[in-house]
Symmetry: C2
C-alpha cells in the first residue's frame, strides 16, 4: 500500500490543496446549523478519468469523499466531514455539445446552470430548471439535489430534464446511465436514482440534458391581498381553473415589508400577501385575464403590458431573500405541502413567529406548494439560535402533518438528516440503506449525509 504522501504525489495536479488555509473554504456550503469541518485534502479533477483516479486512490487509502459543486447548497450536503477528502467539480466546466436537432446538451458537472441556459438560448433552445442560485450553482449540484425553481409549476424539476448521466462509483468504476433518445425503458431508471442522491452514490461526471424550444417571453401579473386567506383562495382558484401558468409565486407580509425597506417599492402596510404570476403560453394575455378573474379577493391586480414591464413587476420577488438577509442571520427552510394547504402552513408559520418572538418571512412557489420560510435570528445569541431551531422544527413538523414533505427542492443533507426518518418509515429507510450499500458497500461517499 502506498503512503498518503505517495498517493498525493501520484494524483499530482489533481490535488488542489492540503493547506487548511485554502481547504477551509471548501468545508461548508450556504446552510446554517450544520456540522462542518476543514477538509484535509481538496481534489479538483478535470476529467472523468481523473475523477475515477481520485476515487480509486480514496478507496485504497480508506478516505471518505465529499463531492462538491459550487457550494451554494442550503442543507449542508457539501460540508466537509472529519477526515473526508473534498472532490470539487469546479474545474469540469465544459459544455461538451449542444444538439439542436435532438434537442439535448452534454455538459460537465461544473458548468454553471445559468451559463448552460444562456448557451442553449443562443441556439433558440431552453433549459427550464432555474433554482434561485441559477447564476452561481452548477449542473452537478442541481442534479445532486434535484433542484427546482420558479419554472417547476409548468416545466418540472432538474430530474425531468436529465436524460442520462456518467457517474464514477465509490470504487472508481465508471457507470453510464440513461440514453440520448426521447424515450427508453431498457433496464432500471438508474438516472433518476442518482438525481437527488446528494453525492451519496457516486460522483456525476457528465450530464445529458433534454432541451425545449425557447418559449415566448412571458407576460406577468401581480396581485396584492389584504388577507392571507384571500391570496390562498386565489392560488386554489388559479390551480382549479386549469390555466397554464409558467410561474405562480407568493410573498407574505414580512417578506414584502423587508423588500419595501430595502427598495422602497411603496407596498401598503395593509398588504398581507402578493402573488406573482407569469404565462409564456401562446394565449398568455387570455391566461392572465383568467388569472385576474380568479383573484376575486385581491386589493389590486396589475398586468404588465409587455415582457419588459413584467421584469419590473418581478423585482420584488427577486429581492425576497436579499431583503430578508438584511434583517439578521437567516435560516432558510424548504417545505412542500399540498397546494391547498399553503394558507394553513403560512398561518402556522405566523403563529410560530409570534410565539417564538422571531421574524419569519415566507415566500415560495405557491403553484407547487413549495414554501421557503426564512427565520431571522441572531447567530451570536444562544437563546435566539435555540428559538430559531425550535421554529424550524415546528414548521417542518407542521408541513409533515399537512401531508407535505420536509424538503421540496433543497435536499436533506445534514440539516434534515434527523427528519428523513420522520417522513419515511422503517421499511423505506431500510430500502434506502440497502440501495446505498449496493452501490457503496463501505459507505465512503458523502458520509454523514442524508442518512
Amino acid at each position: 500500500m502506498t503512503t498518503r504522501e505517495e498517493a498525493l504525489a501520484g494524483l499530482g495536479r489533481i490535488v488542489l490543496s492540503t493547506d487548511p488555509d485554502v481547504t477551509a473554504s471548501y468545508g461548508f456550503d450556504q446552510s446554517r446549523f450544520t456540522d462542518r469541518a476543514t477538509p484535509p485534502i481538496v481534489l479538483a479533477p478535470t476529467t472523468t478519468v481523473e475523477v475515477a483516479e481520485c476515487l480509486r486512490v480514496a478507496a485504497e487509502q480508506g478516505w471518505t469523499v465529499v463531492p462538491r459543486g459550487a457550494g451554494t447548497g442550503l442543507s449542508g450536503a457539501a460540508n466537509g466531514a472529519a477526515d473526508a477528502v473534498v472532490l470539487s467539480t469546479h474545474r469540469m466546466r465544459s459544455i461538451v455539445s449542444i444538439d439542436p436537432v435532438e434537442r439535448l446538451a452534454v455538459v460537465q458537472p461544473g458548468v454553471v446552470t445559468g451559463d448552460l441556459r444562456a448557451a442553449v438560448a443562443e441556439q433558440g433552445l431552453f433549459y427550464p430548471p432555474d433554482p434561485g442560485s441559477v447564476a452561481i450553482s452548477t449542473i452537478g449540484g442541481n442534479v445532486a439535489t434535484n433542484a427546482g425553481g420558479m419554472c417547476c409549476v409548468k416545466y418540472g424539476v432538474t430530474g425531468d430534464f436529465v436524460l442520462g448521466l456518467e457517474v464514477v462509483l465509490a470504487d472508481g468504476r465508471v457507470l453510464r446511465t440513461g440514453r440520448r433518445t426521447a424515450k427508453g425503458v431498457a433496464g432500471y431508471d438508474l438516472t433518476r436514482l442518482f438525481v437527488g442522491s446528494e453525492g451519496t452514490l457516486g460522483v456525476v461526471t457528465e450530464v445529458t440534458v433534454r432541451l425545449l424550444p425557447a418559449p415566448r417571453e412571458p407576460l406577468t401579473l401581480v396581485a396584492t391581498f389584504g388577507t392571507l386567506a384571500a391570496a390562498g383562495e386565489a392560488v386554489a382558484a388559479i390551480t382549479a381553473s386549469g390555466v397554464s401558468v409558467s410561474m405562480l409565486e407568493i410573498m407574505d407580509r414580512t417578506t414584502l415589508r423587508a423588500v419595501d425597506r430595502m427598495a422602497r417599492m411603496g407596498f401598503d402596510d395593509d398588504t398581507a400577501a402578493m402573488l406573482l404570476v407569469q404565462s409564456d403560453a401562446p394565449d398568455a394575455a387570455a391566461v392572465l385575464a383568467d388569472v385576474e378573474k380568479a383573484c376575486v379577493g385581491a386589493v389590486d391586480v396589475a398586468i404588465g403590458e409587455d415582457p419588459a414591464e413584467g421584469t419590473q413587476l418581478l423585482e420584488a420577488r427577486r429581492l425576497a431573500l436579499p431583503a430578508l438577509e438584511q434583517l439578521g442571520d437567516w435560516l432558510l427552510d424548504d417545505v412542500c405541502v399540498p397546494r391547498s394547504r399553503i394558507v394553513d402552513l403560512i398561518d402556522h408559520i405566523e403563529a410560530v413567529a409570534a410565539d417564538e418572538q422571531l421574524t419569519i418571512g415566507v415566500f415560495g412557489h405557491a403553484g407547487d406548494g413549495n414554501m421557503h420560510p426564512t427565520i431571522i435570528y441572531d447567530e451570536s445569541d444562544p437563546a435566539s439560535r435555540a428559538g430559531a431551531l425550535r421554529a424550524f422544527d415546528r414548521i417542518t413538523r407542521h408541513a409533515l402533518d399537512l401531508g407535505g414533505t420536509i424538503t421540496g427542492e433543497h435536499g436533506v443533507g445534514r440539516l434534515k438528516k434527523d427528519w428523513l426518518a420522520r417522513e419515511l418509515d422503517d421499511t423505506s429507510m431500510a430500502v434506502h440503506r440497502a440501495v446505498r450499500s449496493a452501490l457503496d458497500p463501505e459507505g465512503r461517499m458523502n458520509p454523514g449525509n442524508v442518512f
Copy 2:
C-alpha cells in the same frame, strides 16, 4: 414449515386456481418468441394486505413469483416460468380517490388505464399516458413497463405521471415511495426505480398519479409523401421549428397498404409514408399551419376543420396494427432512435425485409423516434420463423448502431433479455444486479426476466 397444501388453504380465496386448464391462460402475454409455462398456481389478491400475505407465503414456500397485470405486454414479462406462481392484480381494480384540487388520483394496479382516463375526464382532468393497449391494459402493467403511447411527444411517459407507489417487496414488507405533493426530494427517487422494473423488484399495489387539466380537443393534420426521405425531412423540420404538437406519428408504405386492404381508404400506391400530427395547444390552427409549411415535400396535406374530422383522419393510424395482423403472424419490435435517424432506420428495415423476403410494416411515434417495426411471418414454417428472428435481430442491432435503444416503451422482458447486455455495459449490468439483490436477495421476483 407448512406444506404446500396448508399454505394454499391458508391463502383461501386468494388462490384463484391450481387447475392447469385455468392457470394456462395466465401463463403468457401478447409477445411472440418468448419462453412461457403454465403456472402451477394463480393468486388473485384484492388488497395490499393480501398481496403481502401472498409474498410472505411465497418466501416461506420458496416459490418464485410472476406479477401480472392484464397480460397485454409485448415482451413476455408476464409469462409464466417453470414452478413460478402467478400473482394477478386483476381483482385490484378500485379507483381509490380522485382529488381535483391537488390534481392527483390514487388507484389500485388492476384499474384499466382507459377507465382511469375516463373517470378523471368526468372531473375535467387528464391522465395523459395512452399506450396502444389503453383500453385493455392496467395501470400496474403500465407502471411495470413505463408505458408510453402517442401522447409522449408532448406529455411524456407513464413514469412522468407517477407521484408515488405502494409496493410489496419480495419478503412481504410494504414499501411506500414518493409523495402527494407536486415536488419533493426527501431521499432517493425509489418511485422511478420501480417504474419500468417489470416486476423484478416487487408488486405494485397502489399508484398515486399526477393529473393535468383537460386539454382542448386537438386539431389534426395528415400529410402523405412520395418518398420516405421527404417524410423524414418533414419530421426533422417540425421538430426543429419548435412548435408544440401533441402527436406526431408515422406509417410506412407497407402499413398503409395493409390498412387500405382492410378499410379501403383509397391510399395511392405511390404513397411511401404518411404523417399524422395533432395539436391541442390554444393556437392549434396556427401550429398546424406551421406544420404544413414544414411538410415541404408532401404530396398532399389535409387539416381537419374540427376535432371530429380529426378523429376520422386518425382512423388509419388506429388500424395500423389490426391491419398488419391480417397479413399473418406478427412480431412487433419497439426500438427508439434519435429523432433525426428515423429515415435511416426505416430504410434499413426495408432493406432487411427485401433481404429476408418478409413483409415488415413500420409505424410509430416519429416525434420521439420510437418505431414499431412489425414483422409478418408464418408461425407454422420454421424457415419463416427463423427469418423473422433474424430480421428482428438485425433491426434491433441497427437501432443500437444509430445511437438508439432496444426498447422505447414495451420493456425488456424475456424477448430482449439477451439484448440488454448489448445496450448496457458490464458496469451497468453489475449495478443493475446489485440493486436487484438489495431488494430481492433471493431473486424470487419475476425470475428469468430482464436479466
